[in-house]
């Protein structure tokens, strides 16, 4: 139906595009002077932090900006046709047919009350005038093409009956049904686990090769863009600031913001003591508070007053063909000379044992009230959220607990904090077994000594109380301050420690940005001078440049207090950056634990190996071994009888893995792996990461 495109006409071209939203407060420019070209068969990445306008660009291409969004300047052409002048019917025929979109939240993007089959069949029914039979056959074959098992069953299912990864595959199938020329992907894997993400990325790459589809890939993750795209456009605060091929931009970025971004993300070459992250100072400007001149000016180290803050800064060609940058000084800066100041610090001294966890298990009872369960007598089932966890943490040590959703890391945090009690096993904290002491029965000193930093900055603080009063409450509670006045003074000092201005004490959480809220969360956790702090994905919801600053702050305070830090994360790059020791969990069990070096080098537990391979790396010098896992994480209600990973394992031995729980194999240094495969066999594996050049400092 769609004729083959000629290669010289670009598939999609945005020229000097400007988009604004019109609100009660007036016109808010969302995208300014934006240029982009996607050629047939090419994948272009669009990267930027939240609010930079990247999603708005995609929605403008789809001509779906809502009631208050308007394209105020420039043009969008699709294969030479002006998209902005299309009538409603022409637009309808284009949408979902020649240009298709893949969304960030697969669950929310599928109609909950319609079977997947019907939702898929609509596409051929309305675009190709297919008969119901043809539509059904087409839907079945496309589900097969996106590697979904048992397409007939999926067709009859409702969206909530399949997993998140499968939902995203259904969305992709829906987009591919009409053989589109252009695919817009808006953060398609952000809501998914890393190993599932790896599968989706593989699928997208395969589509590009097989169908020659042009792609616009929107993401905040530089690593993902590197692995999926040919060219990249970096956006900042509504403007494109740099564009070029992947190698150009990743190896020789021209714009200070792009440079800043790369210094913010944990790469295999960074290290918390020798080569720490360098955050970009300040924070993203709000759309109506953008500065005069260069938007990045106030955060830029190369800002020149009288030049960078005067008038509009245009995008211009650099001396490398195809690479453009929106910077007046791009050719004046000698990047080698201006290597960022990496404040090196002395590693914390690992002291005495603080926390000893021994064979800790936490089971939940689940009551099944269905008739069949009552008849078979299996009305009560156990979810093994944590099974036989053992590890030791020392003073000043940073231990990372890594795993995907449902691995039991959050349950473990709850048991540790006393919100739940353990089913069996012991948890010695500073000499007392607290595995069965609920938080209400712990002493104020114990509570203050074991605190937590929460994941979501947007609900870590009570919205109806001031920042100051929330910190004061904590100080009084832990007996740090005897009088109100004393607590007030300590609170202000804490604000200094987390580098927030003192007048924030009177503000309410909604007046703070995500990063600032997370700083308050850190201040609160460290108010009782804790011996141990659990940080549950403290930066995963923050923008890259802000996350780096919060991470550094956390490490800084940890060094000062010589606290033990238990860092829960799914992101192995950041774990490699800051952890001394790593614990890898899967379905409630510890699959592997050891020092960071031991975890990142063979011998690997097969799950760790797959997890490492799934992490996108934003460094063109790093080569990765690709391992794509099949299937989903099994339900914790019904775990495999043998090894928890046996259903997806790439090195599965056979029967034994399914039926017999694997042994815990330990080396003298304490590196332990849960696997049937002997250690010396596992040690023969190649490292997942290899470097093209020798990196300046190996991790």
């Amino acid at each position: 139906m769609n004729e083959t495109p000629s290669p010289d006409v670009p598939l999609l071209e945005c020229k000097d595009l400007s988009i604004s939203y019109f609100t009660r407060a007036g016109e808010i420019p969302a995208v300014i002077d934006f240029n982009l070209t996607v050629h047939p068969g090419e994948a272009v990445g669009l990267v930027g932090e939240s609010g930079c306008g990247k999603t708005t660009v995609a929605m403008a291409v789809m001509r779906y900006l809502g009631g208050n969004g308007k394209i105020v300047g420039g043009s969008i052409t699709y294969r030479g046709r002006d998209l902005l002048s299309l009538g409603a019917e022409e637009l309808r025929r284009l949408r979902g047919n020649e240009i298709a979109m893949i969304y960030q939240e697969p669950m929310a993007s599928l109609n909950p009350s319609m079977t997947i089959g019907r939702q898929l069949m609509e596409v051929p029914l309305y675009h190709d005038n297919a008969s119901k039979r043809e539509a059904k056959d087409k839907a079945l074959s496309i589900l097969d093409a996106v590697h979904l098992p048992d397409p007939a069953r999926i067709m009859a299912a409702y969206p909530h009956q399949i997993s998140g990864g499968q939902q995203q595959r259904v969305i992709i199938a829906m987009a591919l049904l009409s053989n589109p020329q252009l695919l817009l992907l808006d953060e398609p894997t952000t809501a998914l686990d890393v190993t599932v993400e790896a599968g989706i990325i593989e699928l997208v790459a395969e589509i590009g090769e097989k169908f020659g589809t042009g792609m616009l890939y929107i993401s905040h993750n530089l690593g993902l863009i590197r692995e999926t795209c040919d060219r990249i456009v970096v956006m900042y605060s509504g403007e494109a600031v740099e564009s070029g091929t992947i190698n150009q931009v990743f190896d020789e970025p021209c714009h200070p913001y792009t440079h800043g971004l790369f210094n913010c993300i944990a790469l295999p070459t960074t290290d918390k003591n020798a080569r720490p992250l360098v955050p970009i100072r300040g924070q993203l400007p709000l759309p109506h508070e953008r500065p005069e001149g260069c938007n990045f000016g106030p955060r830029c180290d190369f800002f020149e007053a009288g030049r960078c803050d005067q008038g509009f800064v245009p995008m211009r060609e650099t001396d490398v063909p195809g690479q453009t940058a929106r910077c007046l000084r791009w050719n004046e800066i000698d990047w080698a000379e201006h290597a960022p100041d990496r404040v090196q610090s002395i590693p914390t001294e690992v002291g005495e044992e603080v926390l000893r966890i021994d064979s800790l298990s936490k089971y939940y009872e689940v009551h099944d009230r269905s008739l069949s369960a009552l008849i078979s007598g299996k009305a009560v089932r156990h979810v093994k959220a944590n099974e036989d966890l053992s590890f030791v943490a020392h003073e000043g040590e940073t231990i990372a607990i890594v795993g995907e959703s449902g691995c039991g890391k959050s349950t473990f945090a709850k048991v540790l904090m006393g919100l739940e009690t353990a089913t069996s096993g012991t948890l010695d904290f500073e000499g007392d077994d607290i595995s069965e002491t609920e938080v209400g029965d712990r002493s104020a000193k114990q509570i203050g000594a074991l605190q937590m930093v929460f994941q979501n900055p947007f609900d870590t603080l009570n919205p109806s109380q001031t920042i100051g009063s929330q910190i004061v409450r904590v100080l009084r509670r832990f007996g740090q301050a005897d009088s109100k006045g004393e607590a007030q003074i300590m609170m202000l000092k804490l604000l200094d420690t987390v580098k927030l201005p003192r007048d924030f004490a009177l503000r309410r959480p909604r007046q703070l940005s995500g990063g600032q809220k997370q700083r308050v969360g850190i201040a609160r956790a460290f108010a009782g001078e804790p011996a141990t702090v659990i940080a549950d994905e403290p930066v995963s919801a923050l923008d890259v440049s802000v996350a780096a600053a919060v991470t550094e702050l956390l490490l800084d305070i940890q060094r000062r207090n010589n606290s033990t830090l238990l860092f829960i994360s799914h992101d192995l790059s950041i774990v490699r950056y800051l952890a001394d020791r790593v614990i890898v969990m899967y379905l409630g069990q510890i699959m592997e634990q050891g020092t960071t070096d031991e975890i990142f080098n063979p011998p690997y537990n097969p799950y760790t190996e797959a997890l490492l391979s799934a992490v996108p790396v934003a460094d063109t010098n790093v080569e990765k071994r690709r391992i794509i896992l099949e299937g989903n994480v099994p339900s914790p209600l019904d775990p495999p009888a043998g090894c928890p990973f046996s259903t997806r394992c790439q090195h599965r031995l056979g029967e034994i893995c399914d039926t017999t729980p694997p042994p815990r194999q330990e080396t003298e240094s304490g590196h332990s792996i849960l696997c049937h495969i002997p250690l010396d066999e596992l040690a023969k594996a190649d490292p997942v990461f290899s470097f093209k050049d020798t990196p300046q400092a190996a991790a």
């Binding site: 789809m62 949408r95 969304y103 929310a108 909950p112 609509e122």
Partner: protein, 180 residues
């Protein structure tokens, strides 16, 4: 428009709309009888006003609910998916939006049957109709415990019956309930 009409109709209690209708149609226009005693056998004309009073209050309420629910559904991601799939507008509304938008008001509508039973009391008193409501009121004014008990039983049966129907209907509308 719908919202203004419905906010006004939900603001007029049944007894007030009964008074207004009597003033307009009985006193003013002299079209309809003002009482529904059914003294001379069944007379459909006598039913017009009581039914109007009952309908007009609920109409506004249900219209408001449905409108709010529809407005909410139209902002969801799956409606965006349906539009960007290139479906005609009609199809998006009829097949994707309406069914999801009906889930929330449906339970409310079924609860309204309960409320109707309350309305019946007022309407029966207003139009001097001898029925369930008038019986209950009279019994309670005379402290006739047995009759009150009997009426309460009937009321609960109706309530439980409609709730059961509502639950069954709900599972049809909402597949997420059906298989869990």
């Amino acid at each position: 428009m719908v919202s203004i009409t419905s906010v006004i109709t939900t603001s007029i209690p049944e007894f007030a709309s009964a008074v207004f209708f009597i003033t307009i149609f009985v006193f003013g226009l002299k079209w309809l009888p003002g009482t529904s005693t059914m003294a001379n056998g069944f007379d459909p004309l006598q039913l017009v006003l009581p039914v109007m009073v009952l309908v007009i209050y609920d109409f506004g309420y249900v219209a408001r609910m449905t409108r709010a629910s529809m407005a909410e559904v139209m902002t969801t991601h799956y409606i965006r998916t349906a539009v960007l799939k290139g479906l005609p507008y009609r199809r998006v509304i009829m097949n994707h939006a309406l069914r999801n938008a009906l889930i929330a008001p449906f339970t409310v509508i079924m609860l309204q049957i309960n409320w109707l039973l309350s309305g019946v009391i007022v309407v029966e008193v207003a139009f001097a109709y001898k029925g369930f409501g008038a019986l209950l009121l009279e019994a309670s004014l005379n402290q006739d415990i047995y009759v009150i008990e009997a009426c309460a039983m009937v009321a609960v049966f109706v309530a439980v019956g409609t709730q059961t129907l509502a639950d069954i209907g709900y599972t049809f509308l909402n597949p997420r309930i059906r298989f869990s």
